[in-house]
């Protein structure tokens, strides 16, 4: 008789904790980093309860939006290894989608949905068109062509004033549940009245969190692995049978869609969208700075970079103003630390990060573990 081996039980995948599953088994991998991340998320989640006034809440909402936006850019820059300058264009499309729909169709949730859906479709079509036109030849074409297309889009948005409100942009009304006058509960919670503004903040917060976790899932999927393979060695990835153009285009579409969602969030929070808030080239530079300083190809770098940058934007200028005042009398030096020159120092930090810390802050923290 031939002895059959006993049937082995099905391989049971090791049970992963809820946290590990949420993070797609890609934890921060550094104690310091974990503490910082938990701190940032906790403060963001509790901002309405911790601080009073609208300024901290706006800063926190901006950080949330930029976390989603920068994470989506990281998918392109850090994981796929291509530089796009059209990310603000998709950001702007999201903003204008919501703004135009709410202004034209009235302040209802249906118009929000229509606006977001239309913006997502337009972004996807544009991303595919740009990708197929430029990625077919060489990745470096992509950078230049996205720059050209993005600047054309910015000009177009400011010229088509009947649709987009031109340079003035569009102000609009939100659905009633998100207006400051709305009360979710009649009683205050921990001394805080839950009004529409707080709801709007949590909408932005959870949307950003969801976008971030989905992006984290994507970069840790087999698809994300192929993107990293292309980044490391395009030729070898092609030789292994992966269609580089298709994968790069898909990555640019996913990242464009996430940027569109971020734009929609920002417009909902600001109740306004205009060329300067979402489309301008300086925002593109801000995104680059955030990704690189935070850490390319890490996703968590987006959280750190966005939080650091937005805080620096708001509070570094105060510090520099003090430094500038104390240096007055010396030629040129006060001008170099003038509060308006904060970008000079972040630019220098950016160059140093590219050379010395290619992994940015996150990479540095992980190495020190």
């Amino acid at each position: 008789m031939i002895a059959f081996p006993a049937p082995t039980p099905f391989e049971v995948a090791p049970r992963r904790s809820v946290i590990a599953r949420l993070l797609s088994s890609d934890p921060p991998r550094s104690r310091a980093l974990s503490i910082i991340l938990i701190g940032i998320v906790a403060v963001l989640a509790a901002t309405p309860f911790l601080f009073s006034g609208s300024q901290p809440l706006s800063t926190a909402a901006k950080i949330c939006v930029f976390i989603a936006l920068v994470a989506s850019y990281d998918l392109l820059l850090g994981y796929t290894g291509i530089v796009s300058f059209a990310h603000t264009m998709f950001f702007g499309i999201g903003g204008y989608g919501v703004a135009i729909a709410l202004e034209r169709l009235g302040p209802t949730w249906t118009s929000v949905a229509i606006g977001v859906a239309a913006a997502l479709m337009l972004s996807a079509v544009l991303a595919v068109a740009i990708g197929l036109l430029s990625l077919r030849v060489r990745a470096i074409f992509f950078s230049m062509i996205t720059l050209a297309v993005a600047s054309a889009a910015a000009v177009l948005a400011s010229q088509m004033s009947t649709v987009t409100g031109g340079e003035d942009g569009l102000s609009f009304q939100l659905p009633p549940q998100l207006r400051p006058a709305f009360r979710l509960l009649s009683e205050p919670v921990f001394g805080l009245t839950i009004n529409g503004r707080i709801l709007a903040y949590y909408l932005v917060f959870f949307a950003a969190l969801a976008v971030f976790l989905v992006l984290l899932r994507i970069v840790n999927s087999p698809f994300g692995r192929v993107l990293q393979a292309i980044r490391e060695n395009e030729f070898r990835a092609e030789a292994l049978g992966y269609r580089v153009v298709a994968f790069r285009t898909a990555a640019s579409v996913i990242s464009a869609l996430a940027a569109t969602l971020a734009g929609a969030m920002l417009a909902l929070w600001l109740r306004y969208n205009g060329p300067d808030t979402t489309l301008s080239f300086s925002i593109m530079i801000d995104i680059l700075l955030m990704v690189v300083i935070g850490g390319m190809g890490t996703m968590y770098g987006a959280v750190i970079g966005a939080a650091l940058f937005v805080l620096a934007q708001s509070y570094l200028q105060v510090l520099m103003g003090a430094a500038s005042a104390s240096l007055s009398g010396i030629p040129l030096l006060p001008d170099l630390v003038h509060p308006d020159r904060w970008l000079l120092w972040l630019g220098a930090l950016f160059i140093v990060s590219v050379y010395a810390f290619p992994g940015g802050i996150v990479g540095h923290l992980r190495k020190e573990r």
Partner: protein, 340 residues
């Protein structure tokens, strides 16, 4: 191993490179096609001259970038800041010598322009050398880092311009004899645009001579096509590259001066604004090709002018349309040179 047969083609002449005429014909063809649509010959001449002048200025700014790319596979996104620097350098000259520009003498006016150009080119050449050494050299062979780091250089230099010259826009005046326009019958040609065409043609002619008739030009062209081979033959391609980078920066400075007097306002972001056109032009021309860059510049500027006259709404995206059409026809640009 020893019996190396000499090839029979020793005595016969090498086959000549076939000139690719088709792209060269595009510009005159475009101008001719536009004529019936515009109808009025005198406005056609005005538009064409204006377009040529614009094209020459773009060419000045783009030619250095395309050579640098072709020679060393470096893409410098910070190139725009040399344009701004060149523009601001005019202030160094215009400050003490403003009277020369007001004087009603062609000689003094041209001397002032010449001085502006020399100072701007010297300044941008020096900054270009520093930029190459500090910013670009550590990231050879890595496109991603090049783009990032040159963007960083752009931010820092732009902010430095703000710190030195202030953040608000600065108006500058054209020298007296370059203001106004030549009028021949119905045809109006702005003097400054004619001046720009002359300068642009001179630079293009000079570059073509240098590239095609001198030893150093031969080395540059050889380096664009196959840098390893030039290096293997014992030439220091590094030094060649640094000089091309410096020359390219100086040309951007020259373009910046021309662009500054054309706009008559200085802003630190002016270089980056025009970089969009510059990139479109070098993509159309084929990365690394000076001739293609020239044709591309004229093409883009003429189309922008004609379309702006015929259908102003379309003019905003006409550049992108031209680029898309060219890329559909020749995905590598009009004259693909650098095959990498």
């Amino acid at each position: 191993m020893t019996d190396v047969t000499t090839s029979a083609s020793d005595t016969t002449e090498l086959p000549r490179n076939r000139t690719d005429w088709l792209p060269l014909l595009l510009v005159p063809a475009l101008a001719l096609v536009a004529l019936p649509f515009i109808g009025n010959p005198s406005s056609w001449v005005t538009l064409t001259v204006a377009g040529l002048a614009m094209g020459m200025m773009i060419f000045l700014m783009a030619s250095g970038l395309t050579l640098v790319f072709g020679l060393m596979d470096i893409i410098n996104f910070g190139h725009g800041v040399f344009i701004s620097l060149g523009a601001y350098a005019t202030l160094i000259v215009l400050g003490p010598l403003a009277a020369w520009g007001e004087a009603d003498s062609l000689g003094l006016n041209l001397a002032l322009m010449g001085l502006c150009i020399v100072v701007a080119m010297a300044l941008t050449a020096v900054v270009g050398a520093v930029f190459e050494r500090v910013i670009v050299r550590p990231v050879y062979g890595n496109h991603l880092k090049q783009i990032l780091v040159t963007m960083g250089g752009l931010i820092v230099t732009e902010q430095a311009i703000h710190a030195i010259w202030g953040a608000s826009p600065i108006p500058i005046a054209l020298p007296e004899s370059l203001r106004g326009a030549y009028v021949l019958g119905d045809i109006v040609m702005e003097r400054y645009r004619v001046f720009a065409v002359v300068i642009g043609l001179a630079v293009f002619g000079g570059m073509e001579l240098l590239l095609n008739r001198t030893r150093i030009g031969l080395l540059i062209r050889a380096g664009v096509e196959n840098p390893e081979m030039v290096e293997a033959l014992g030439y220091r391609i590094r030094r060649l590259f640094v000089s091309v980078f410096v020359a390219g920066s100086a040309l951007a400075g020259l373009g910046g001066v021309m662009w500054a007097f054309y706009r008559q306002t200085l802003t630190a972001g002016m270089g980056m604004e025009v970089m969009v056109l510059v990139f479109i032009v070098i993509i159309i021309g084929g990365l690394g090709s000076v001739g293609g860059c020239f044709v591309g510049s004229l093409l883009v500027a003429l189309v922008a002018n004609y379309v702006g006259f015929l259908a102003p709404k379309l003019a905003l995206i006409s550049n992108i349309l031209v680029m898309a059409l060219v890329l559909v026809w020749r995905p590598q640009g009009l004259f693909p040179v650098a095959r990498r």
